[in-house]
Amino acid sequence: MSDYRVLPGPEHFLPPAAASMGICLPNPGEAHINGVIAPEEKAYEEAARQFLMAKVPTIFPGPLVLWAWNEKAAKKATAVRHLFNTLVECVQPGQKPMLIPMPDYRPKYPKINPEVEINPNHPNLTIWHNRIDCCMFIGVHCHQANLSLKIIRGGTSCYTIAMCAQAGHEDAMLSFRDASVEKIMKLADTVKRLKGTVQPRLASAKNGVSS
């Protein structure tokens, strides 16, 4: 097993792909936390804890849930909104949950508006601008998610969670696999259950986002 751990950055300008450092993807029913395979139940707890600790916990829904391609996508969108509403209910004063879309993947020139969207080619801009210290990707195609997660790990200290519909992401600090409406709802339930038990890192979050 690799000694390498997928930790919040800034790692350096071009961090290695976690896969190249020996990090493996979880099997069905498992997740990974910092690159170490863990039971999915533990990952729900850890993800909820990270959300509740963060000053600006943020969900980044991608095109696979933002656009109602089919009934399943629309249902996932509803679940994402439920998770966000749960976060809003469960955080303490001073914490500011955000829901920022990644509508598509084109490199946007001359600029993006980091207040209203995130672009996979320079996700760090949105993270820096909003001082996001914990985020979750959902509904982002794998190759774009990997690219973004690596950029985020390279240039920011944001904690990254991937709610992946496929086999998971090594480059996230915590990754679920086989994401479904049920899993998103279960994460929301876990957040609700842990409400009030986790101390937010409000003071230290001032320095949480590196630029």
């Binding site: 933002l66 109602a68 969108a77 879309p101 084109r106």
Partner: protein, 302 residues
Amino acid sequence: MSKERIQISEDLYDIMPSDYQDLVKNATYGKEDRGWKDIGTSKELIEQHSLCAGCPESMAFRYILASLPNPEDTVMVGSTGCTSLVFPMVAVHNIHSLFGNQNAIASGLKRALSVRFPGRVKDVVVLAGDGATVDIGLDMTLQAWFRQEKFTTICFDNELYANTGGQESGLMQKGFVAKMAPVGKLFDKVRLPEIARESGCHYVVNCTVSKPSLVEKVIRNAVHIAREIGPTYLQLYTPCILEIGKNSMEGLQEMRDSEKPNERFAYKEYISEPAKQLLAELAAKDKERKAAAKQLAGQASA
């Protein structure tokens, strides 16, 4: 039709940036008689672009995107150059090819789309600069025409390599001195429209983009003919105002001056016999459609 297929998830609608909301609500996908007159009253298929202020290429882009008959089922193939800075801002499927490869990519794409979607009309439109079309990509351009590939090739002719500082291109006029071509062009502008005709293109037009209605007409003709009969080619003058020493507001006049009789962009058109027949059929159908609509409107008001 794509506009019905692509909808924003209701629960996340409010967080979508307004340009996407506008695109879903007010764009002209699927509108049968879409054209340049929609500009200003509907959402255009081009968002902010990064071209220079007053660039005629930006006008050309807007007119072309407003005129495509079937944008939801069109794939545009671009190449390296100023156009490649615009494509990320365009709400039509597009592919960026290697410099000069655009007609080869489009050939494979068109064939693949015909196999994948046999019952659906899928248009392919190549849009590249003169360097990609006539110099670096001439082989691919000509071979696609020889093979009678069914797609439209549009060349934005600005008569030099504008994006890299003004080097000489095959379409530069003889004697022209550019920043990176100080001795002046030694040979004539390549006569690609004539070559296109001889290479098997069924519809060839050489013009400027000073008149939106004309651009609309030639785009629609070129796409319809390419869809049914064979390759079509449009050479549109989109001068680079920076490289020819003009100001932002002088691009339009430059095009008007260049399209006067006997000038190099005086309107020239070639239509093959089968293409003429197709255009006549389309015109007849259009007339019928308008007459029926008029009759319907008359009945409704009576």
